[in-house]
Symmetry: C2
Subunit: 433 residues, 2 copies
Amino acid sequence: MTGRIEPRLLKGFRDIDPTAMERRVYILNKIEKVFRLHSFAPLFTPTLEYLDILKGKMGEEADKLLFSFTDIGGREVGLRYEFTISLARYVAMNPNIRFPFKRYQIGSVFRAEKPQKGRFREFTQCDFDIVGSSSPIADAEIISVMYDVLNELCISEFKILMNDRRLLFSILEKLGVMKDMLLKASRLLDKIDRVGKEGVIKLLEEHKLLNESIKKFIEMSEPTTAYRDVMEEFSKMIDITKEVEEFTELMMTVNQMTGNDKRIVYSPALARGLDYYTGPVFEVVVEGVGLGSIAGGGRYDNMIGIFSGRDIPATGSSFGLDRLEEVLEKKNLFPSELGRPYCLVTIFGDETVKYSLDFYRQLHKEKIPAEIYLKPKNIGKQIGYADSRGFRYTVIIGPEEAGADKVKVKDMRTGEEKVLDKDGAIEFLKEGL
Amino acid sequence: MTGRIEPRLLKGFRDIDPTAMERRVYILNKIEKVFRLHSFAPLFTPTLEYLDILKGKMGEEADKLLFSFTDIGGREVGLRYEFTISLARYVAMNPNIRFPFKRYQIGSVFRAEKPQKGRFREFTQCDFDIVGSSSPIADAEIISVMYDVLNELCISEFKILMNDRRLLFSILEKLGVMKDMLLKASRLLDKIDRVGKEGVIKLLEEHKLLNESIKKFIEMSEPTTAYRDVMEEFSKMIDITKEVEEFTELMMTVNQMTGNDKRIVYSPALARGLDYYTGPVFEVVVEGVGLGSIAGGGRYDNMIGIFSGRDIPATGSSFGLDRLEEVLEKKNLFPSELGRPYCLVTIFGDETVKYSLDFYRQLHKEKIPAEIYLKPKNIGKQIGYADSRGFRYTVIIGPEEAGADKVKVKDMRTGEEKVLDKDGAIEFLKEGL
């Protein structure tokens, strides 16, 4: 009966095999290490939430985006599509939280929208946010975490693009965009990396949001470290003194926290897609991989309070694991030995099983990763298995070795074999780790 | 509008705050370390699967147990309630997998059944299995992983109870239980830890499954290291030569892989709840915590093949994270400094911000976990913050320290303060890690 069930995956979902998982575990360990170094603490919120909570500030796209259903208790529920709304709910339900609340959350989020190439309906997000501080040092801290993660992963050809929505909106407004069209205009501006400046100028024209000054602004909008000069140029057209001051303070703080790294740049037209950002916005792009941004974030001071009815400032960012994996793969940045099994212990025959098992146990005691061949078999076959699996070493224990209380260690790369006493073998295998 | 949404959690679901999450991360890191030491590799399967896949071998209880719904594409889908069925699907869809396939999977599983005290509808399971080997060394390997995890977590008052369903069923059958009643009888036997021997004897009587020999068997069924003696006693009543041989080989192998630990015992009446076990079964109990088993597993040779139509032997086990957390808490086994923030860097005023940020950056470069106070404020208040948050050290940088290119390190436990140059402070803070 059950034999007839066709084994298959849901559209847009995937298995991730051990080889790919080893890469992902490698990345996640590095990310978590940086989060902890910066005193962010882990938080867990459930995968399922009430639908009205998840919809929070979403518009009509919610019905397309969310996996939602009625549970057996008749409740309208959904699978989380991001972590921020659950963070807002958590903060509202725990009024005694001490601010700043620096938390991270790593896990699966779900999108019901049509899956595209390289985009899945379940994927892993790594969020980190600081809730309860409006200080630019909090924004700079978020950026410095992104910066440290990139360095920890040995990604060098990156840029962190920075802007402030207050600055951008002020510029656009003073150049003639109506207040109620600012979000619209910023969403079009955000398409620069996909359609180019000319494309965006055309789009703005189509939406009757273009004039000569705005065209000039767009043409001047190159990512740059010379943020002071560029803002001075803008200031010749319009008065943006207050916004320039705020952004200058942020840039200075970021520069101090990252050692004036030239890869951190001002990107005058950067807006970021999400409507809820209220201040600084930032994103990470990596050159030469043909990907959009691999991380992004910003300040969102009107979001965390939506369930508690009070404004709670917040700033944060998020890495997408799929994109990071793709970058490291394309840039060849994974350690060459990653996921390679280390040491196979052979079992020659019934008379040596005990000796093999005993040595296997000793290896684990010494924290040497090892696998044992699961039954007595021709040693050649076992070495063949070790070879095909990519083991670094094989420990051969035949009657001769067992009789002399020794083991033979074969280096699978060079083919070299050494007969060693057990302590010597353990020392040798430890050195190779 | 959105302000009126009541922040709330779904029944049976929970947030896990940073304090509890630190404990869980601690446990998961230890578990993953042991898995890797034993050459198990991570696998990911999706949270959502086709409903008919999830139902696999489940009976009618599926409708009660599963969170299921119709997705926007009209597909019948469900949230996974365990990992084994997805593993079976994965193996069927990837016919080129090399056996033995040693994989682990850690993640959320979902049960729609009524939540009870300490039981949630979403909880974390840590599964590890060996697919494709029928060798008792594979079963022993699973048990030795459980054993190493317990040791790694410093749990000492445990027992690993072992049995073999073939042995148990053979005994029951030869003592008079009809073949088609063996599963039923074994399910009743499995209640010994909840209702005691007398209770089980009564239950068996009610179900007309009791006779004098079975009563005697139950009375003799104490967990014991003297498995040979006990089986010899049973052998006086019935012929179980083959089953005794098999089980003896397993026990010997387990003993070799665990150094003859006396906490690994034969438990003659142990059956385990799941119907699909076909050979060895085992479970971990911890004394003095008032919990049932905290891990369990066994061999299931007819399960992995259900989608591929061929028999694929497998053996495995699983730890439940909630139970482990409870054990470590009750036994006071978490490190006392766990989750305690390490070092707070203060910001005295605008004139010292740069110096504080610079030192903060140096701490991270040296891999010293640190947090920075997010704005200039009265130093007393910042120390008060460090105190209330439980920081181990506070780094105080006032104009005097900054001027002399030094920092003041305050030990928050003793109140002692030391003025040190930056290198000295870094060295000192490193020592405390």
